[in-house]
Amino acid sequence: CWRLPGSEPLMHGEVKSPEYPRPYPPNLQQQWDLSVPEGYQLRLTFTHLDIEASAGCHYDALTVLYDEKVLGKFCGHENSADGHHPGNQPILSPGNRLTLILQTDDSNPERHQNVGFLAQYQAKDIDECSAPEPEDGSGPLCSQICLNTLGSYLCSCHHGFELRSDQRSCVLSCRGGIFDEPEGYLSSPGYPNAPTHAVSCQYIISVESGFTVSLNFTDNFNIESVDTQQGPNCLHHWLQVTIPDREPMKLCGGKSPGLIVTNSNTVTLDYHTDNDGMSNGWSLDYSTHRVKCPYPGNVAKGRVTPVLAEYLYRDYIFVRCDQGYKLMMDGQEMESFSTMCQSNGQWHLPLPECHIIDCGEPKPLLNGGVTFLSGFQNQYRSVVQYHCNEPFYSLLGGVNVSFTCEADRRWRSNSDIVVSPTCIPVCGQPTKLIRAYQR
């Protein structure tokens, strides 16, 4: 059988006698089975009750039952001297059900017509967690932590324990021991109390490459050690700290190891106790730090930015050359340069060099030439001057202009001219004139 949609128990409702508010009929035997959802109690409140009064409600009566237990038998009305009227006090069912039975005899008083009853009922959440422990010896509802919810409850366990399949009792647990958050807290099972059984737990702290883990043990550290001639020995109980590429460390005793800087992004903690002895355990806070890269150094004729006290994983640095210089790496010119501190603590690219720029050969001048005034091999700040093959050509504009190799790799004159000058022919001025002295 399937429960039909809409047939879910209601959270509240109303119940009334037949033909209410007109008098109820005689010879009546009617039953109402009220229910609210599981996990709730049913609370019934009479808004009106007017049933023929009689001693012990012998003739007409409304009986309220939970299972077969009578919670009340009512008759009369609010002001009647006899009978049993529920008054304004609600009736709370021990469970989520309640049964009402209205029973009437074959006669009714002639002068007074009783109209029956009208009642409201509603669901009331049960706080299962505050309920007293059952007397059957089955123990508390939850062995460690009980959380009340609407219509139900949940059991939960303290850190280091896990809820059993019965959903109420807890058991020591070492599972889920991988910690990948950048910081966190770990403790041994039951800490600061000693576990009742032997434990063999593994905790793996594994954070992103490029970060290193530091362990900071709290002062309350207690792992049983055995005194030997060579000193305390972690013979039966121990916490082993394993860092890759290093010898594992076994820790025990009553003194906290304090801070352990691992310089690794992965640390494995193995906690072992046996059934004997007493170790209260340990707890630690772990934190992570970014890997440090070496100081990048300086670049001649350039600047490394930003300047930081130390350079850490994912930090970027940039190199810019001074004006008139260009970035070069492996014989290739670069437009820009940046390098990042890698997870292995190395810069992903070595620093480039800054080489002086050159403007190339000055553009040749037709019917003229170019003279170096200063500088070296067309390099930055070199100065050249154009001239025309005089007296047959002269510079357009007539003024000798010097050009300087500027940072944009162009030869520019003081007046910002980029193009080369032009030689224009000189006209009408022969190198030799016709001389005639005879008069």
Partner: protein
Amino acid sequence: VIGGSKAPDNTIPWQTLLSIDGQRGGGMVIADRWIMTAAHVLKHNGISASNESVRIYMGLTDVKAPSLSPVSAASIHIHPGYNNLHGLDYNNDIALIKLQDPITFNSSIMPICLPAEDATYVTGMMGLVSGFGITEIDNRRILSNQLNYVQLPVVEQGPCSDSITLAKKTRDSVPSLTNNMFCAGVPEGGKDSCQGDSGGPFALRDDGRFWAAGIVSWGVDCGHRGTYGVYTKVTNYLDWINKTMQEN
């Protein structure tokens, strides 16, 4: 050139010698790819000379020089207003030759300046006329192999026009003087340009620079008394010259 002298080397470096189908003419360098000359040197009986037929010599004063080597014409541009089918109308007697390759100037080849926009022709101002045309040696007229020059004054338009009118009375078919022409010469004769000098320069000098005031065009006889040489007035053609060079 009648009554002139032999031009020393490098004194008239803009002078060019044109040889077109055996006919001799003159010209002048005005830019590294342009020669200016007279239209009638390049056009006879309405037929223009081909580029290939034009041989241009420059930088020389002796036609027999061993280094004689012509440069080639890329295009010929005769003034559109020149119309001289019968040899009687020398109006607009001007033409430009574009060279195939630009010239590099030196002491023997140099351009002559074009006139300034406001250039004037002052009567009596002495101009330098030059050419490889007919000259007179020992009273015999011969075609010169040497570059000759003569200094001639600019003549007022009125007397010049009178001399042409007079010439028209004694002979047929004398061309007319227009405002695109000016005259130069001496009334007593003996100094003049002559056949073979056509297209050559009449140069005036201002502020130490020679400028192309005229182009040897035509005249009645050469060096006769009472006659003058007629030259194309270059200032009237500055717009056409600049336009032609820019468009080509």
